[in-house]
Amino acid sequence: MWRYMLKRLALSVVTIWFIATATFFGMHAVPGDPLTSDKATSAKIRANLEAKYGLDKPLTTQYLVFLRNLSQGDLGISFTQENRRVNDIIREHFPVSATLGILAVVFAGLGGVLWGALTALYRNRLPDTIIMFLVILGISVPSFVIAAIGQLSLVNLNNLAGTSILPVGGWGTVQHMILPAMVLGLSTMAYLTRLMRSSMLEIVNSDYIRTANAKGLPSTQVFSRHQLPNAVLPVVTVLGPAIASITTGGFVVEIVFAIPGLGRYFVQAVQQLDYTVIMGTTVFFGAFLVFMVIVVDLFYGWIDPRVRLD
């Protein structure tokens, strides 16, 4: 167990190094740099600025400096925002993205398990047909369209009620989070519902369910004690990649709902070629995802004793 953990951690450090390197050299391959601006700067000013940010040194030196700072957790200072450290930007905006992401994952996970179990219980009957139709819709409609439809119906709902039931955009209170989290989690929920349904149907025919039924357990207990926990396992496996896609997919939702998350910030930084912000955000996101996958794997080993971590 501990050996496995150590191995995983060592591997994740290498992975993060790879992400950092790919980002660094990718970034520096871009024509132009953050100091290129509309304002005409004299060669002298430019040289001074380059010296200030260390851009006058050879690329390898810059790379080594970047790695050294990264290993100390220092992501540098933003180029376009005076005296703003990237760490501060992340500290300020990441919690917003993370809150949204966590809510969306919880919504998707719970919803997926619930709907999947329901469809399996009512197999080939009306509830199954309706839910599976909605699921296919949820998979096929892009999230920004769902976001737009959600916003539009919220506007109409608020109009109808005469008061603001839920705010249409912005961030701050729990009310602000509900609709974006639902929109963000919807496609994942649809996917998980499908997965849950097929794994439920597979388990219905297994020996231990037959045994449980044969020894006279009430069907509710068979369902809750035997069927459900076993059917949830495949759902947990894909939760890692799901978290990844939700957190990065979040910035479409962030843009539509005007949420001050890290994704929106990233898009802005890319447009301004803000090296440090781009690199910092990418490495941070990458590290976060690597970490989440490890957590999900450990969690999986804990809920399913058959899985041996080694």
């Binding site: 790919a22 980002t23 990718g26 892009p142 990065t248 781009i278 990458g286």
Partner: protein
């Protein structure tokens, strides 16, 4: 007993030689199973229809997707496209026309002449001291209810008339005139008037649009039919149907080619890794793990910047390359697993015994035997590639503006969602239907091709 008698050959039994069913190859069998799946066949027809829409459509509907019809901007499908011939514009100084009707609202606000797209002329009665600061005129697209803003402030004036010529469309407008107090603030003396503006056209404009010959004599008040736009126009007056057709090219090009390319690369990579095995396999798959760990959308955006989009370029190629670079590992893993399995099969050993070399084994046995799984993967990869294109274009990181794509059309449509929903609905519908069709086809193919997945769901 003689030895020859012990081995008398059996009389050939004709019945045993005839199999009960004709033997089917793997692909024939799969095709038969697919045909039984109604949803899959339906989606197959849908995809064929979409391809026809994309490639044959522009030959039938030859409207240029970037030409602007300034008379019909943000027109909903099926909207009235008549325009009435009127005189050229003449300046106005507040005089009332013969068909003027007085109104008895708060400030006596009325239209001096019938409102048209040429101009809307408002006139009202003097309010004396209560309008010491003059009047402010507002225009709104929505009915004004309690607590609602009056809309766009158009002007402030001391006179008792106002002419609006600002970007008039043949839709409903709600005009409000507010009396201003001494400090120039809005007072509660407000009158609102609604109108449906009629579309008009002058002789010169009609000639330029080709609606009227130079020598033709037509009386004022004649009704013209403007150009037909079956699915309406967008916010710049570009034909939606034509843009959807040309956008489909971009979306389907990326949606089909990106998966084919990256899965092809993944297949080669994975089969080599699986076949060679050992340390090479370990190293190759470790590298694939690294690539998987890259945050996908962030790197898609980075790639877009790295490749750069010059003026006049559409930005399709950078997106394609980025997808190939980032998405191959999933296919590689899948194929590697399959190859590891197949490698131990008897027919591989037999082939090797007959002297087959590695490339031959890979191309002749391994890859054809994983073809079913690969095909299913491609089918499921298409919708996600279409989504990715749509996402990126939606946040303005995809194809460059003049090039239409379904994603960028959604991006433009969402801004006018409240007033002209058709600009968002059509591209969104096309994305959804395409994704749906490929998903259903993928389900069908998986059931038909992949024996292990059969009977699930």
């Amino acid at each position: 007993m003689r030895a020859a008698d012990a081995f008398t050959p059996l009389a050939q039994d004709q019945a045993a030689a005839i199999s009960s069913r004709p033997s089917l190859s793997y692909w024939q069998d799969a095709w038969r199973r697919l045909q039984q799946n109604k949803r899959a066949i339906f989606s197959l027809y849908l995809i064929i229809g979409l391809l026809a829409f994309t490639f044959i459509g522009p030959m039938i509907w030859t409207v240029d997707p970037s030409s602007q019809d300034v008379d019909q901007i943000s027109i909903a499908p099926g909207a009235d496209r008549s325009a009435i011939l009127v005189k050229d514009y003449e300046p106005w100084y507040g005089e009332l026309s013969e068909d003027f009707v007085a109104n008895d609202n708060a400030v006596g606000l009325t239209f001096a002449v019938a409102p048209s797209t040429q101009s809307v002329r408002l006139s009202w009665q003097a309010q004396g001291e209560r309008a010491a600061g003059g009047y402010r005129i507002y225009r709104n697209l929505f009915p004004i209810t309690a607590g609602r803003s009056l809309g766009l402030p158009l002007a402030e004036t001391q006179s008792l008339y106002f002419e609006d010529r600002l970007d008039l469309r043949p839709i409903d407008y709600y005009y409000s005139v507010v009396a201003l107090n001494k400090r120039g603030e809005d007072s509660d003396l407000v009158a609102t008037l609604s109108t449906t503006v009629t579309r008009v056209i002058t002789r010169r404009e009609a000639e330029r649009r080709g609606l009227l010959g130079a020598a033709e004599q037509v009386a004022y008040g004649h009704e013209f039919q403007l150009k037909l736009h079956p699915l309406g126009t967008d916010y710049l007056g570009r034909d939606m149907l034509s843009r959807l057709m040309h956008g489909a090219r971009v979306s389907l090009f990326i949606g089909l080619f990106a998966p084919i390319l990256y899965i092809l690369f993944g297949v080669l990579y994975g089969s080599v890794a699986g076949f060679v095995g050992g340390l090479t396999d370990q190293l190759m798959m470790r590298f694939a793990d690294f690539v998987v760990a890259l945050p996908f959308l962030l790197f898609m955006i980075l790639f877009k910047v790295i490749f750069g989009i010059g003026p006049g370029e559409s930005g399709i190629m950078p997106m394609l390359v980025a997808m190939v670079v980032l998405l191959w590992p999933a296919a590689a893993r899948l194929v590697r697993g399959q190859v590891l399995q197949i490698r131990e099969e008897g027919y591989i050993g037999a082939s090797r015994l007959l002297g087959a070399k590695t490339p031959y084994l890979l191309l002749r046995h391994m890859i054809p035997n994983t073809m079913g799984v690969i095909l299913v993967t491609v089918t499921f990869a298409v919708p996600s590639a279409i989504f990715t294109e749509a996402f990126l274009s939606f946040i303005g990181m995809g194809v460059a503006p003049p090039t239409p794509s379904w994603g960028s059309m959604c991006n433009e449509g969402i801004k006018t969602m409240l007033t002209h929903p058709h600009e968002l609905i059509f591209p969104a519908l096309f994305i959804s239907v395409t994704v749906l069709a490929f998903n259903l086809l993928g389900d069908g193919l998986r059931d038909a091709l992949d024996a292990r997945m059969r009977n699930r769901e």
